[in-house]
């Protein structure tokens, strides 16, 4: 049988080209990440100083920091996670433990996955209709509620996945000892899945702390220090949005610094979450 050298060469060449393109695609992906991070550091580091953490957002033309925005972001993120996490964990528990094979559960799972990727600006509109319009004013409550709506599907998803990883023998053994099902779940399944569930919550925190769209017309913004949850409150993403699109150079500089801060925080959180889950699974 004659070997068709020319055809073989052509096949090799085409394969090499494809492999080369795959390498190039990965290089492109990594380059994008590197360029974004480099731009952030380059533009943001100049404005980074103690003032950022000690002074309020300034009017144009004067000095200031981002203290009220940072505080507002923290307050609303914590409140949102505080409200959303228990609901998410309980719902995830139902899907994994009580209703694992029921029809309703598969519908809920399906809907939850859609909510997970649904546009976050729609959440803002929803909370506007639900809270802001009846209350008659924007408030940190509404902002936190909008973030909670985003936290729930993330936590449901990870809680369910992590509980599904718990071996059934553990449940059977504890049931055989006479433990009622709620105790099996709380004392055995939760304990076995704890690291994964914490990862889920961390990922949810990372996700919502960078969200802007749902806060735009729920918490609005606030130039001043405010701890009143029933009043508009500043948040880092919204301040970045407002300042970056302003014509004032000092505002734009602050926006870059804020952008650097928020990216650092979010990426640290997601790396921590990943590290936590991988160090557990390797055991």
């Amino acid at each position: 049988m004659a070997l068709d050298i020319a055809k073989y060469r052509r096949r090799r060449l085409r394969s090499t080209i494809t492999v080369g393109l795959c390498w190039a695609a990965s290089a492109l992906g990594l380059t994008i990440l590197a360029v974004i991070l480099a731009t952030l550091v380059y533009k943001g580091i100049a404005g980074l100083g103690p003032k950022v953490f000690t002074e309020m957002t300034p009017p144009p033309g004067s000095d200031g920091g981002l203290l009220n925005a940072i505080a507002g972001s923290l307050v609303m993120t914590i409140a949102g996670v505080f409200v959303g996490t228990p609901i998410g964990i309980l719902a995830g528990t139902y899907l994994a433990e009580y209703g694992r094979y029921s029809k309703v559960s598969s519908v809920i799972r399906f809907i939850n996955d859609i909510l997970l990727s649904a546009p976050s600006i729609v959440t803002g509109l929803f909370v506007y209709e639900l809270l802001v319009r009846p209350m008659g004013h924007f408030s940190a409550f509404a902002g936190a509620a909008a973030l909670a709506v985003l936290v729930i599907p993330t936590v449901v998803r990870t809680t369910e996945n992590m509980l599904l990883l718990v071996p059934n023998q553990l449940r059977e053994a504890s049931s055989a000892l006479g433990l009622p099902q709620s105790l099996v779940i709380r004392k055995v399944a939760y304990k076995a899945a704890r690291a994964g569930m914490i990862t889920g919550v961390l990922l949810a925190v990372a996700r919502v702390s960078g969200e802007t769209a749902p806060l735009l017309f729920t918490a609005l913004n606030n130039q001043f220090w405010s701890t009143n949850l029933n009043a508009p409150m500043a948040s880092l993403p919204v301040v970045i949005f407002q300042y970056a699109l302003s014509p004032y150079e000092d505002w734009q500089r602050l926006a870059w610094t804020g952008a650097l801060l928020i990216t650092a925080a979010v990426l640290t959180l997601s790396i921590a979450a990943r590290w936590l889950s991988s160090s557990r699974t390797q055991q």
């Binding site: 952030l40 859609i114 546009p119 509109l125 099902q181 769209a213 734009q252």
Partner: protein, 330 residues
Amino acid sequence: MAFLADANSQATAAAAARRKVLEGLRITDQLFRGLTMSSAYFVLILLGAIFASLVIGGYLAFATFGFSFLTTEVWNPVTEQFGALAPIYGTIVTSFIAMLVAVPISIGIAVFLTELCPMALRRPIGIAIELLAGVPSIIYGIWGLFFFAPVIQRYVQPELIEAFKNVPVLNQLFAGPPYGIGILTSALILAMMVLPFITAVCRDVFETVPPVLKEAAYGMGWTTREVVRNVVIPYTRVGIIGGVMLGLGRALGETMAVTFVIGNAHRISGSILAPGTTISATIANEFTEAVGDVYTSSLIALGLILFFITFIVLALARLMLMRIEKKAGA
């Protein structure tokens, strides 16, 4: 006798205590079950409530303009004339171009991560690509406006205009002054944002291909390209489409990044270099400044349209991914 009676009463006391404990356990058991069940139903209620609130909020717009809300381009807050055509057009066009760019790159990265990459580098590169998904969308916005748009304006758009100057059809597509911001820039930013999502799904489904199939193909003397094309991709086609739809769902609803770089012009332009608007960008830009019930209601109606479109796209994505999960499980 007295001794026996004493033991008896002790036994009944112990039994009573045990019954009490068991009763308590039974109640907490049912309570916990009820709590988890109502939380799970809450997810359903949430979706229903979102839909309901958007329908109620947008009702006035649909009542005022009727079906023509979907088919008119006019968006005039002064005369209170609103039509959703320009934002819908912008949303679809930006997402479509973003997909054209992102899908081949994502599949390339996924192939790289599953077939080509040295084992030691797989995790770090995989995590780096996933971090791209973690970068908040406002960061893409500010970066797009101050870094990416000027680059596009200076180096890419003049080249495109020049290159297609004499080609019919394409010279309409790449017409006009190089603004920097506009449909094309938004689409490219969107492509970067959805890239990690599509990559993650493709990588996961590529890993479901049984190694035996690939080994058999390599054993026959196939090249890497032929294995990917004729074994991996056909085996995972449904999953890839699911991943693409998932990315599309993200792209359609993406707000902040687009708001920065789209230019917010309520018109439909033949050129993809021109500024435009999308549904989410319109809402983000105008909602807090909307005066009057019809204006606000029109924006909420836009939100309803967006939610409806993304719901369908995401639902299709889930259905396809469920099919491949079943295949992998079987």
